[in-house]
Each structure stands twice: as C-alpha cells, then as structure tokens.
Symmetry: C2
Subunit: 371 residues, 2 copies
C-alpha cells in the first residue's frame, strides 16, 4: 500500500459522541482496508489528557483505556495542531467537543491542510465572521486545494441527512422558500408529552421534570428551554441557504424560561419553582385545543423575507410536525422544485450513535476526496 | 485553467428528465466555474440523433435545438462510447434514458474510465449478474482507480436522498432491519385518492382514469399497476442492503391488473373494462375501514428474513404511510441505531425537475471525486 492511501485520524473529545464515533471508526477502518485505504487513529485527546505516540497507529479498541492510563497532560490545543500539521500523511481532525476555543481555531487548522469533521455547533453558529473565515480556509470553500476539507452534518439533526440535502438543493439550482421543523430532541419530547395529538399530557413543569429524569435534557434544563440550541441550528441552516445571519441571537428566539426564574441559582431550584408558571402554559394549551391544534416548539426560516425565528407555534393535528413521536426531529424543506408538498426528513436527532453516524459519514466523504 | 480542471459531460436521452437536467447543468456549470472547474457539454443524443463536434464545447441552452436542427443520425451506441473513451479529458456520461441496451453496456463504459450518473433503473434492477459487473467495473466499486464512477440516486425516490442515506447507514456500521414505504408517485396518488384518511374517495377504476388524465400514469396504466416499477426500486435498495436479489420478479409482487385484463390489447380497452372489477377493491376498502385502517400500495424489505415484497397493505390512519399526500413517496429505514422510530424521508418521488436534481447531485459528486 502506498503512503498516499494512508490517512491519519485525530480525535478530540471522547464523551458520548466520541465513544460512539470510535466504535464506528473501527468498523469503517476494516471496511476501507478492503478498499485499499488505511485509516490510522494517531491521537486521542480530552480536555486534560492526550495520547499520542509520534504518529504510531493506536489500537482503536484500546484508545480510551490508553488515554486514561498512559495519556500525558494535554498540551495547549495550538501545539497539538502544529504537531498534526507536520504529519507525513493527510490528517482528519474529528472534533467531538462543543468547545468554543477549538471552534475558533478551525480557520487556522484548515489552512494548515488538516481536514475537520465535527458535530460542534459553536464553530458554525458563532459570528458570521468566523463562519466566513472557516469556509475561506477550506478546500470545499474558497480556500484552494492545499487547505483541509470541513464537514459538519451532525450540527443539525445529528445523523439525519439535513445539511447535505439542503446543500444539494441549492447547488443543483433549486430555490428554497422555507425551512421549518422541530430541531431539538428535548423540545420534541417535551411537547409531544405535554400536548399529544388526541388530548392528554401533564402539566408543563411535570413534563420538564420527567424529561430531565429520563436524561432528555441538559443537567440544567434551562439550557434547553432558552431556545439557544435550536437558534444555533437555525443559524447554520440559514447561512447555508444564503442568509447572512450574524449570530444565534440576532433574530427572535422565544425562551420558555419565565423571566422570574432566569436568575435562580440552580437547575434544581428552577425545577422546584417552575410549577408556579404552569398556568401560562395551560392557557396556551387550551387556546390551541379550541382551534383543534397542538403547540410545538419550532424553528423556521422564511427565505424571501429573510426572517428566522424560534419559538412556540400552533399546528393542525394532521400536520406532520404535530404527529411527531418521542424525541424525533423533523425538518421540512419547502422549495420551488418540490412545490406544494415539502421534502421532509424525520427521525432521531440526538443521541451518541446517531450523532456519531453523521460524523463518521462526513469522515468517509473526506477520505474519498483525499485519497 | 489547467486541463485537469476540465470535465466533459455527454448526455443521452433528452425527454422530460433530460431537458430538466440540461437546465440544471447550465446552473451548475456557472457555479463550478467560480470554483475553477470547467464542465463542458460535448455530446447530446436521443434515440435516432446525435450532436457531437469532436469535443468542442456545446452551448447548453442551444443544445436541444442544435440536436434537432443539426444533429446527425446516431451511430450505434457502442461507437459513441468508443469515441468518448478517446476524449482528452475525463468524461461523465449522463444516461437519462430507461434503455436496457445502454444499461447492459455500463460495465464496458465504466471500465473505459467513463463515469456514469443516471436515473435508469434497468441497469441496477436487471440480473444480479449485471449489478455485480457494474460495481466490479466502477472506481467506487471494486474496479480500481482507472475505472469510472457510477451513481444512481434518482433510481429510487427521484431526488430524495434515499440511496445515499441507505449507503451511509450501512457504511457507518448501522444494521438495517426493515425498509418500508410508498415508492411510486402513481400508486401514492391513486391510493391517497381512492381511500383518503377520514373517508371518501371514488371507485378504483375512476381514480385510475383520473390519474391518467392528470398525467400521473404511464400511457398504458397497466405499466404502473403491475407493480414492476416498485419491484425494480425494491430490488435496488435490497441489493444495497446486502441481499442478493436475483431480479425484480424473484420475490412476491402483487399486480393490480385483474387476470382477465392482462391481455386486452390496449390501455384504453383496459380502462373501459376496469370498472367491472371495482367490487373487489371496494370490498378491500370496506374491510380496512372496519379495522380503522386505510389501504396503501407499498414495498418492504425485511432484512433478517431476507424477505422482499410489493403489494397492498393496511395501515392505521395515524401511520405516516397513511398520512401521505398527493403523489409523494415516503421511505422509512428501521435500523438498530434509530431504534423504535424510523428514519423517514418523504416528498415528491417523480417528475422531471426532482428526478434531474438527483442526477445533477450525482454529477456533482463525480466532479468532486474527479478533479
């Protein structure tokens, strides 16, 4: 096998997604080897530790254990990047963190010829300036063939083919008029339980508590209820669709955190006091029910008016958004070509394995472009 | 611009899909030119005529007119392939026909280094032998780097990302347990009209007649009602999922053509006599309604039992397949990773523009791999 068929993989972040990714990498490595492409894991890193042996291939199945037992104190991230830039083979950096600092260094990493695949939303939903710099430094942007490639399918809808589909619609010349959907597994679960089609459902605060107990929310549920996660995803899609959205706070985002509870000191205290505000949500539920509708927490992009918004909306019981189940995401693309019925993609939009699938799929795209 | 950034495109078949494709090619050409890749249309061909000027670039907007006015009698297709194989640049053949003979020559074309993008189902749903030969001759199969690439997203669900999604699920190591859906725009329209959720709908023969009048069926509606189009799509998906399906007739396919009308001489005579068989369909409708269900014409692949089937099935009114609208397709992937809720893709699965979109998207994939 020639050296050019060997590609190095460096993994930063080994939490839920990172672990699932390593499992999928092991599978993909065996698969690609049969096609004469050798994927070698050469570095694993978490916030405080790094395992790297001068580009010697690491045993993927032992990588986490080795990181824990034999890893060194992690050097500053910039040093790791400089080391990777000296690799004798092409390098793909897999950023499974949600680290803002790493995100900010993407332009530098790409310009050194290192490719990036990642579910890290921060990089693509921060300032429009960072977004522009990233794609100005990427081989699949305007950075030229010496730059690295960057793919981020899992930043929206995890493994669902959302970003690739939107890109293809645009690249083949379709006109996207509206994108609408449920973009958060937490919000999906919460509203499918709070107001299922056909009636029922508990008080809002009780459903938030249940969602937290089932592991569907962040440790502090306010991090879901403030709508910022959805706003970040909408920012990314809007930018791909050609809108110059400055940041995830530069359009209306409805927070479900009562003003009075924004500054309580802990998530637990928040959950304790939330029942005092159930009446507001109950009223909303009743008014929707009177119209034969249900309430859902959605994001939407209206292309002609350049309007992006995130918040509560009412939907007819027969609408696909109303009929969503569990913690599924749903994304509808309304386009000129698809006419009156949207192109719809639906399924689990959160979880380690499906998020990692988007990352592994992106890795495969880069491998095919590199080798 | 260096010669290696120039890629030749040859188009065979300029009907509805071919015309839409040429429009999209014009858009894509302008887009790629900004990225320093020059896509040149060098040949257009329909069954009897060919327009080719020794690899001189053709004006895309005038290509059809020039084919009609200045085209020569088309040489045997094999000669055209031999000519294209001598091109000074890489060539992508866009086969917008449903021609069996062209399909049969794919292995030869690919082994000459010419890439193929196509919505032609025949090539991928004929014998398993042809399927194997195609991918044994392709750079994205086991044919090696001197062969051409082959992509066929539009053979199932037109522009919907069905094949790419299934491939990614498998390549990243997911286990597909079941694929199920409505794979025919005609059958979708027919059953959504014949038995809409909530009641209503006309006699079956009247709905067939209406579908024909609206242009939703083949000139002879029996070409839709025999189920073969759906069987071809299922054959393709099953093979991608790893099942060695020998042909689209090697598994149970339910035909909606009454035995007595199989051999009537014309589509018109068929439509005239079909009302005599409405009672059977009406009975089915009633029995489904009694169970609170609707009848739909679906295809399914059960991976563990290797069972493929095409035919009528009953679905609860709340099932996504029951709620389909217009002539939309819906495809559900049940996998280990996606758990109890499937990954669902839904939208228009027929029509010139959306079919061409799948072809143009594939062309873009090949361009990125080639340049």
């Amino acid at each position: 096998m020639s050296g050019s068929n060997k590609i190095f993989v460096a993994v930063v972040g080994v939490g839920g997604v990172g672990k699932a990714f390593l499992g999928q990498l092991e599978h993909l490595r065996a698969r690609m080897q049969r096609q004469n492409v050798l994927l070698e894991l050469v570095l694993v890193r978490r916030s405080k530790k790094q395992y790297f042996d001068n580009f010697a291939p690491l045993d993927i199945s032992q990588a986490l254990q080795n990181l824990d037992n034999s890893g060194n104190a992690a050097p500053p991230f910039g040093e790791t990047v400089d080391t990777l830039a000296k690799a004798p083979n092409k390098v793909i950096l897999v950023d499974n963190t949600s680290d803002q600092e790493i995100a900010a260094s993407y332009p530098k990493i790409l310009s050194k010829g290192i490719s990036i695949v990642t579910p890290n939303k921060k990089a693509f939903s921060d300032t429009y300036d960072l977004w522009s710099q990233i794609f100005a430094s990427a081989a699949n942007g305007t950075g030229g063939p010496k730059c690295g490639y960057v793919f981020h399918e899992s930043t929206v809808g995890a493994g669902l083919p959302v970003i690739s589909t939107l890109k293809e619609l645009i690249e083949t010349g379709d006109e996207v008029t509206k994108i609408e959907g449920v973009f958060s597994g937490t919000m999906s679960f919460l509203f499918n339980s709070f107001m299922p089609v056909g009636g029922g459902g508990g008080k809002f605060s009780a459903e938030v508590k249940k969602a937290k107990e089932l592991g569907y929310t962040e440790p502090d549920p306010r991090d879901d209820l403030n709508g910022l996660d959805v706003a970040r995803k909408l920012t990314i899609l809007a930018r791909i669709a050609g809108l110059k959205v400055q940041s995830p706070t530069s359009f209306p985002v409805e927070s479900l955190i009562p003003k009075e509870l924004e500054s309580v000191s802990s998530g637990d205290e928040f959950l304790e006091k939330l029942p005092q505000f159930d009446d507001q949500m109950e009223e909303l539920k009743l008014s929707a029910a009177k119209e034969g509708k249900v309430v859902r927490f959605v994001g939407s992009i209206d292309a002609p008016s350049q309007a992006v918004r995130v918040g509560l909306e009412k939907f007819d019981a027969s609408h696909p958004i109303a009929a969503l189940k569990g913690s599924d995401n749903i994304i509808s693309f309304h386009t000129k070509r698809y006419g009156s019925n949207a192109l719809i993609i639906q399924g689990a939009g959160a979880g380690g394995e499906v998020t990692a699938m988007g990352v592994t799929g992106d890795l495969l795209k880069v491998v095919r472009l590199l080798h």
